[in-house]
Amino acid sequence: MKIKSLFLLASAVLLIGTGCANVKPWQREHLADYTMQADRDPLGTAQKEHIWFSREEASGGRGVGGGGCGCN
């Protein structure tokens, strides 16, 4: 039982400790790149939104994290 719980704890620490990359504010050079923007093609985004709305009767919910320089 004790070994099992230790194993569980170690697995959880490993999963959480290594699963997320902590990007520091001064390391956001690549995230700040134009190609990292989710909506770099506004026309394409509008077309996808229209298709999504007319086929699925749904819209929005496209917001994702990731890009941007995180400045200010």
């Binding site: 719980s5 569980l8 704890l9 959880a12 620490v13 999963l15 959480i16 400790g17 997320c20 902590n22 520091k24 504010p25 001064w26 390391q27 956001r28 050079e29 700040a32 790149d33 320089c69 995180g70 400045c71 200010n72």
Partner: protein, 164 residues
């Protein structure tokens, strides 16, 4: 499976994760580490003792940094010998910095923290971040980000207050 054990394990792991990623940020009242000990590229002023110093951390990919440059340059020109503005570039590639400086030429001191050691030691919470130091090298004011005229006015009044 014991669910309470699982919950405890996850909580412990989360706490450990939070602790391990916690950063020691340079705050108002702290003393800036000795810049000369960080092997920065570029020439630092011979002595900063007794001078008001603005240390600004910036990167070429940061738009507010570009906005802040003319303001910092103007302050350097206005206060002359009484003030030393030091721009610390944190770009991974020197070529990006050079390209940026061709567009945004300034007269104040510029150095490059190529190993990102100084910036890691100071751990600013955003880009740009500037520290205004008194004559003893102690951080008296801190600016996270650059917010146009508002920050410009704050810089001027803070520098004036330190010069009195």
């Amino acid at each position: 499976m014991n669910t309470s054990l699982l919950k405890k394990s996850l909580l412990a792991a989360l706490l450990a994760g939070t602790f391990l990623t916690a950063r020691a940020e340079l705050k108002v009242g702290d003393t800036l580490p000795d810049l000369a000990s960080f092997k920065l590229e570029g020439k630092l002023p011979d002595s900063l003792k007794g001078k008001i110093v603005v240390v600004d951390f910036w990167a070429s990919w940061c738009l507010p940094c570009a906005e802040s440059f003319p303001v910092l340059d103007e302050l350097q020109k206005k206060y002359g010998d009484k003030l030393v503005v030091i721009g610390v570039n944190v770009d991974e590639k020197a070529s990006n910095m050079d390209k940026f400086l061709k567009k945004h030429a300034v007269s104040f001191t510029l150095v490059r923290d190529s190993g990102q050691k100084l910036v890691a030691a100071v751990s600013p919470e955003t880009m740009p971040t500037s520290f205004i130091l008194d004559g003893e090298g102690k951080v008296r004011f801190l600016h996270s980000g650059f917010h146009g005229e508002k920050t410009h006015k704050e810089y001027a009044s803070e520098i004036e207050s330190l010069l009195k």
